[in-house]
Symmetry: C3
Subunit: 316 residues, 3 copies
Amino acid sequence: MRFPSPVSLNWIAELINAELLGNTSGMATGINEIHRVEDGDLVFVDHPKYYDKCLRSAASFIIINNRNVSIPEGKALLVVDHPFDAYTTIVNHFRPFIPATKSISDTAVIGEGTYIAPHSSVGHYVQIGKNCRIHPNVTILDHCIIGDNVVIQAGTVIGSDAFYYNTKKDRECWYKRMQSCGRVIIEDEVEIGAGCTIDRGVSHDTRIGKGTKIDNMVHIGHDTIVGRNCLFAAQVGIAGACTIEDGVTLWGQVGVNKTLTIGKNAVVFAQSGVPGDLEGGKIYWGSPTEEASIKKRELIWIKRIPEIWQKLTQGS
Amino acid sequence: MRFPSPVSLNWIAELINAELLGNTSGMATGINEIHRVEDGDLVFVDHPKYYDKCLRSAASFIIINNRNVSIPEGKALLVVDHPFDAYTTIVNHFRPFIPATKSISDTAVIGEGTYIAPHSSVGHYVQIGKNCRIHPNVTILDHCIIGDNVVIQAGTVIGSDAFYYNTKKDRECWYKRMQSCGRVIIEDEVEIGAGCTIDRGVSHDTRIGKGTKIDNMVHIGHDTIVGRNCLFAAQVGIAGACTIEDGVTLWGQVGVNKTLTIGKNAVVFAQSGVPGDLEGGKIYWGSPTEEASIKKRELIWIKRIPEIWQKLTQGS
Amino acid sequence: MRFPSPVSLNWIAELINAELLGNTSGMATGINEIHRVEDGDLVFVDHPKYYDKCLRSAASFIIINNRNVSIPEGKALLVVDHPFDAYTTIVNHFRPFIPATKSISDTAVIGEGTYIAPHSSVGHYVQIGKNCRIHPNVTILDHCIIGDNVVIQAGTVIGSDAFYYNTKKDRECWYKRMQSCGRVIIEDEVEIGAGCTIDRGVSHDTRIGKGTKIDNMVHIGHDTIVGRNCLFAAQVGIAGACTIEDGVTLWGQVGVNKTLTIGKNAVVFAQSGVPGDLEGGKIYWGSPTEEASIKKRELIWIKRIPEIWQKLTQGS
């Protein structure tokens, strides 16, 4: 999340009651979780296992629960006992929860020629472009951005919170939600079917590229970046923080694991499960996926096991 | 789609700015996409690969981008540069998009004893029979027809547009939606769970037969015809233009590929993927499906590979 | 379902026009279907195959279509021609369908600090605790109970009716819905994603334990009991009457068959299909599931079939 304008580290330190070490005169331009940090960002870390990763990341300012780490040149530490809670405090300050009181928020901007059906909700600071068609019972939550000529069919939810938790198994409730402050950005000419859910980024954006078409009941996780001219058939599920490049086709009920990349123009057959990166320009099948031609041959080999058995036991 | 009354070809030719060749005095009774054409229908074709199929189909009048094809006896050609756009023009003329302005359209007809919960939407020209129960947040879109004693649980969408695109990869946006003008017809005593989506036909009807019961989050694609007394468990997905005959049972998360037929009383076990036609009266399993007994035996054979290896390498 | 207060058997017998045999002075405290019966309950049975099971169950009073069975000590029979219809009559008497007329029923109780977004429905006799966040287009149906600090994201349905039918293939409509009179109980600190559906119990409760977190488009069937601190990723489907113990993790698109138990802290990998009970503390994979380590080895063995073939045919 970008801040509306740069904020002094001293002000942040006061907000979260932190000890400030290192480049104490810095200005923070935003806050992000570790997968999405950029120069000028705040980030948090609370487990020694990840100290190094965070200190070496692009983030300039690290909220941390240890004052005895060496501070990289030009960076600053904000030392607190509970970095996760400090993160939440900052997010809630800049993106406070504002209850919806009407169907279309007064702060939403709706383009010319756009139709929004009854029983749809458009949240605070939402922007919708021109000539869109938003069908009934659609929910577009705060801060999401929709381009021109976009179709969103009935019952779909844009901008639900990320399924992203801070996990500690030594407390009564193991999972604490990491407050989402990212957005969903839907580019021009995108069409989204009925009953879909597209989560906002935890701290960054989930994005659907121009001209991509999505069938019914497709789930797209937080921070996932979908390219242009992709085609996702019904009941596809894509986990968080994936990169789906341009022209990718996923057939029905395909499942995609988190934080992976599917290359340009790849095609994945129905019901496949994608466990890791897939190279572009190829056709995949299976759970876990392989190249479809390999998978097909494998199924033929499996059918030959009884013949192998017979050869082996009867010597014929 | 049937037209309200037959329309002269000359009038159509003028509407889409076409050159009319062959049986120029014909009257068109409707328009359909190629899988559903009937005598009296208009159809369109824009790729030489499909010229023949269209010219030989049941359609009487062919919107085409080539004047140099031989015209079958009694048929007519409507020659235009862009047949797909001409199709859209005709559909939009006969089924113009009419924004919804209230929860239940004034043109909807609702039978006696039917309950429609708050936050549900009933579109233009919808017909709903007697003693139905429509739960909250249901969306029933324009022109759909619902029989008597039908239950539709919360959040379900009836009549979403087909996921059906004209594809050309040499333009900026590869996929152009083929405008749906078909309907969904739900017969008496059907019950549909929560969070389902049933797409309307592209140009014809999607139909759910009498007494069929559908669990939550089931997706049924455009133009699919479901018989009587079928049972679909949760999260089943059926692609477009399928025929599911009477008494078919699909267990949870089954996926069904497009344009296939599943025969009477077939049973398909959970998570199976149906790639092609299935004969009725049998039990199926697997992705891709096989008869369940064969699939079970196959799993046993797979377990024996280590034993085969041992026999082979140790000669025992 | 518990009755508001105990009801005399004579009164019940009159309501359903039954002949009362055995302990005719009994008082019924509730009615349940056979999987959930307790002492004091009415139950029904209409097929000789299940007579014994019902007569020996914890139920005290059996609605049955046969007067010539021996009555266990202290129990009573209510003899009718159509036990299923008698069951429905009793359920409809104690839980009559009451149409919703507004977004939030006057009989609902909403705790302090709880936010309910526009376009959400809260049914009759619903209880919602403190500091909950109910997003737009959520449906919470009659009699459901929600704890404190619960989050329910947009488009989710709580308390849809069970997918549970009385089946007889010798009538025109094979399936008659068994009227649900159970509830959904959601404990404190539970978070439920967008587009989920959680069915009420047929006659008992569906329950989601404290601190459990559920991603988008998850389906949970009737009467299923989910423990504390479980984590269900997107598009998981759990059938009816399951027991999911504390700390269970189900990754995306997992399917779980009905009436089974998954033990404490079990982990099930994405797209797996769980056919029967799983012991706690282990990691599972596959459809049908096996321990993940076994499944992984199996995939390696399958890859070796061509090598086996070569060894066998070329003797090398």
